[in-house]
């Protein structure tokens, strides 16, 4: 009897573990294989935090939030130089590139492209906020891992997912904050 209970407990544990790791069931993953190897792999390799957001439809219950935020915060790394503001010209090339950071697709404020309105407007970002250490740090960290501030948001986790290096993120921070940057000196496309 005890053996059965232990086995059941182990099974339940394994199941709970499997469920926590992935959003899709084994059966669903099998059907997704029909979509091809490259496609299916993306779903097989779903990360636990992605699964959590999927399960909760991007609205995490309050009791999960402290641990989630702590884990996301732990992923943030900084440039070796310690400088959070890099080269604004390089940052502009990253900000305005569809294949690279693609920021303008959702955020308004770029002097090069008309921005979308899925995310908040960043128009004249640095002019309104200044360049204090706190502002630099906040801007850097949100770009590095937006989920450490806005759990399950649509914004890419540029640093945490390896889409941009810490140095590239510092360049984007400069593009947004530097008073000399085109972002703060030139009018946003679409502004009157």
């Amino acid at each position: 009897m005890r053996k059965v209970l232990v086995a059941l407990f182990a099974l339940a544990l394994a199941l709970a573990f499997a469920l926590a790791q992935r959003y899709l069931t084994e059966e669903e993953l099998k059907r997704i294989q029909a979509g091809g190897k490259a496609y299916a792999e993306v779903f097989v390799n779903q990360r636990p935090d992605q699964a959590l957001c999927s399960i909760h439809r991007n609205r995490l219950p309050a009791d999960l939030l402290p641990k989630f935020l702590e884990e996301q915060r732990a992923l943030i790394k900084y440039p070796a130089s310690g400088k959070l503001m890099g080269d604004w010209r390089k940052g502009g090339a990253i900000f305005n590139n569809l294949q690279k950071a693609n920021c303008f697709s959702c955020h308004y404020g770029s002097p090069e492209h008309l921005g979308g309105d899925v995310g908040p407007s960043l128009e004249k970002y640095g002019r309104n906020r200044g360049q204090s250490e706190a502002v630099q740090r906040y801007t850097y960290e949100v770009i590095y891992n937006a989920w450490a501030f806005f759990p399950c948001t649509v914004m890419y986790r540029f640093g945490a997912q390896g889409l941009l290096t810490p140095e590239e993120i510092a360049d984007v921070v400069a593009y947004l904050l530097d008073p000399e940057s085109d972002f703060n000196t030139k009018p946003a496309v679409g502004s009157r």
Binding site: R31, I32, Y39, S105, V118, V154, R157, V189
Partner: protein, 268 residues
């Protein structure tokens, strides 16, 4: 002159006009309504050439529909859901379960399987462009039709569930899912493009000619374009992935009482 040749000549002429229009369009500092812009372009095509590019795909699809396969049969012998050779309103009911293949199929997959089972083509002989044109021809018989995708058969329900789960799954290096944009940010803009939810009728305009790309997109093509823009490798054509997502979106659009646009639609 063959349809293909006519299409080439028209498209060459039209590409120039579209480019000029597009240049003026993107240089504008005020956001234009992309739908209004598409309607303006559509009118320009009609006035200049007397025909829309999408209609040329319909014509080509019609030729291919009545072409005999190795078995000597045309696609008139294929049941697209309302009986052999019945095309009127067939697209508006798809995807659905087909007992002969034992599978839920969307129109594109149905064309693909009928070309094999009825017409005797080998899978490697079937060109994607031909399926695209035939799909457009058949879909044109459901222009402005009310969408009526209601999963009932157990396999349809399973497909709906798979589509819904894919819809909500966040995955890939960009942490994306369909829902995180199309549900949570429906009504907002990604660049110039308005984001719609299935309940707002998402999916009701395909197959459509996209003048910016100068290409015809079916529903499967459009799903692939979404995957491309979120850096997830495209699923194989005619796979359960496309069919499940299509079924989910159109079933949701059905619940909200949506109809198809003029098919093939003309869009950005």
């Amino acid at each position: 002159m063959s349809v293909r040749k006519k299409r080439l000549i028209l498209l060459a002429g039209v590409a120039f006009g579209a480019l000029a229009g597009l240049a003026a369009y993107t240089q504008q500092s005020k956001p234009l309504d992309p739908f209004e812009e598409a309607m303006r372009q559509r009118q320009m095509y009609l006035e200049t050439f007397g025909v829309l590019p999408g209609d040329l795909f319909v014509e080509e699809g019609k030729e291919l529909f009545y072409r005999k396969g190795p078995s000597g049969k045309t696609l008139e012998e294929c049941d697209f859901g309302k009986g052999k050779g019945v095309l009127e309103g067939a697209y508006a009911l798809l995807p659905k379960y087909f007992p002969d293949t034992g599978r839920v199929e969307d129109l594109e997959t149905r064309v693909y399987t009928c070309m094999q089972r009825v017409q005797g083509f080998k899978p490697e002989e079937i060109k994607r462009d031909e399926v695209r044109a035939i799909t457009t021809y058949i879909a044109s018989f459901s222009s402005k039709a009310k969408i009526q995708v209601v999963p009932k058969h157990p396999q349809e329900l399973a497909m709906y569930n798979l589509g819904r789960e894919l819809w909500y799954t966040r995955a890939g290096a960009r942490d994306m899912s369909c829902a995180v944009c199309h549900d949570q940010h429906a009504g907002q803009r990604v660049r110039l493009s308005p984001v719609r939810s299935p309940r707002q009728g998402l999916g009701n305009e395909w197959p459509a000619y996209r003048f910016e790309e100068d290409k015809l997109y079916t529903m499967e093509d459009r799903i692939d374009f979404c995957y491309e823009s979120i850096a997830i490798p495209k699923p194989e054509f005619y796979s359960d992935v496309h069919i499940a997502l299509t079924l989910y979106m159109l079933a949701e659009a059905t619940k909200a009482g949506h109809s198809f646009e003029e098919l093939p639609f003309f869009t950005r």
